[in-house]
Amino acid sequence: MSVKPLAMRDVLLNRIWRAMAEDQKIFFTSADFGSPILDKIRADFPERFVNVGIAEQNLINVSAGLALEGYTVFAYAIAPFITMRCYEQIRVSLALLSEVRPMNVNLIGVGAGFSYVVSGPTHQCYEDLTLMRALPNIRVLSPADHISADALFDRCVNTLGPKYLRFDAQVLPVIYEIDAPDLDLGFHVHRRGGHVCLIATGYMLHTAFKVADSLAAAGHQVGVIDLFDISNFAANQLQAVLSSYAGIVTLEEGFRGRGGVDAMFFEFLARRNMAARMLNIGVEGAYRFELGSREELHEQVGIGPEFVLNSVTTFMQSLFD
């Protein structure tokens, strides 16, 4: 692999830092959350950077006010805090207000799923996909590597409306070294398979690849799709891709059965009268306080490669019973 993997936030912040020199409209707000790249923004653009302190409610409202004054705002905090601590501010001052007044606010939430591994359930984030996709007018973007995260920048700047960028806190392997993700499609077909297709978002795309590799070694080719635009993907095109499969597996690093990507595809299949059966991979049960590596934690909650491989294998067999 020739492209060195990087943290999603670092590539996007670098992009923003470079753009701020040219585009006087870009404003960056943070709820006392940093990074070495952010230090460059703080140093070089003190007039268009503001740290509101540990105050996510005010982060959203100040960002909304700046956006009403014409700024393109990037607001930055840890994922559970920038979504749930200030959910009503997002609902009222972004989702609702943007229906009436043009505004561009891009929420960068770092720490999808278990990516803050040892910090425990306050810093881990398993509910944000459900909550953010529940709000009309907010675009939810969930990239799986730093190249697709970087590609979101132009879309953020050039498309009005509030957006939520769900970023992993860890450096993930590179996926889009050759093919660029098609932002208009909102998903990317990485592999085509026989009877079963895995649809994953964020970190779980990497799990999907591992599972697909294991299945391929056993003689079963499965499809793999990266769904990185949760709210605005091209539904007809996705239906066309999925129509050849008898079974669909959703994989998300979020609670299973609580309105996330799994629920989205239940509705998708039902509305479109698609006959495919579905298996949903997501975090089982409730909050967990156990410590371990991300991989160990994933196995404990039913989203690790081993667990998923077994589940998918059983699912594939059941399709032909």
Binding site: R48, V52, V62, G65, E69, Q89, V92
Partner: protein, 272 residues
């Protein structure tokens, strides 16, 4: 748009009558909290305080007026109609199907800037606007009208701390300090004590005023606006919920009380 002192009092009384008339037709509107804020809005809009343009409600050259106490600003309906933001005849259709004038105002109404139905958001958004105006090099001002009850929402205090940290002297908070929220006197619920003392302690420049003396309110607002002490500014307007309506005025449950239609009729029949 400035009118003289006598006209400000007359205008306040006209708005009071029109607000009663709107409520008479649309009892879903909150009357008591809309009567406490009348002189504040009359001073802002007729007293030469705000720069605004009804033909271009969101023109860049306007001063921004954020009406955070959404429910309690039905008195703005007659004011905005009178100023030409929309036709006066719209006042006949408040809360009716097809009208844009609801029980709680929303920014689909020309002249409203933000979503106000959920309390405690106006000041934070206004703070962002004030910062944005400063950074743009604009000399326009931001005014926020908030109730004292909604200052129980903690997000306000995040904005209050932020505004003084950033010396937002283009930000003006006017508190309609009627001291009653839905279930009674705020002093019995969670008392603010002296709001001006609290805001001063947070680095704001504070004044208090009799909120029903429209001339005093106008004078205080003009002074506030002219003053640039590198501090955000607050005007605590001491007001009475349900002002001028017997049985409603300063009643602890006035927020949810609707005066009988006959009482409103008799008040409207009185010679002005």
């Amino acid at each position: 748009m400035t009118v003289n002192a006598i006209d400000l009092r007359e205008k306040s009384h006209w708005v009071w009558r029109e607000t009663l008339a709107v409520h008479r037709r649309a009892p879903e509107t909150r009357l008591a909290s809309s009567l406490s804020s009348i002189e504040i809005f009359v001073a802002l809009y007729y007293g030469g305080v705000l720069r605004f343009d009804p033909a271009q409600p969101l023109a860049e050259h306007r001063d921004r007026c954020i009406i955070s106490k959404g429910h309690g600003s039905i008195c703005m309906y007659p004011i905005l109609a009178d100023l030409g933001y929309f036709p006066l005849k719209e006042l006949q259709r408040v809360c009716q199907t097809g009208s844009f004038l609801g029980g709680i105002p929303d920014p689909v109404i020309p002249g409203y800037e933000t979503v106000n139905g959920s309390l405690g958001h106006g000041l934070g958004v206004a703070t962002g606007m004030a910062l944005g105006l400063k950074r743009k090099g604009s000399d326009r001002s931001v005014f926020v009208v908030s109730g004292d009850g909604e200052l129980h929402e903690g997000a306000n205090w995040e904005a209050i701390m932020f505004a003084s940290q950033h010396k937002l002297d283009n930000l003006h908070l006017i508190v309609d300090d009627n001291r009653i929220s839905m279930l009674g006197y705020t002093d019995d619920i969670v008392s603010h004590g002296s709001l001006s003392a609290r805001l001063s302690a947070f680095g704001w420049d504070c004044q208090e005023v009799d909120g029903h003396d429209v001339i005093a309110v106008q004078k205080a607002l003009l002074q506030m606006k002219a003053n640039s002490a590198e501090k955000p500014k607050a005007l605590i307007a001491r007001t009475l919920k349900g002002h001028g309506v017997p049985g409603l005025e300063n009643a602890p449950l006035s927020h949810i009380m609707n005066p009988k239609p006959e009482l409103i009729d008799s008040l409207l029949e009185q010679v002005t």
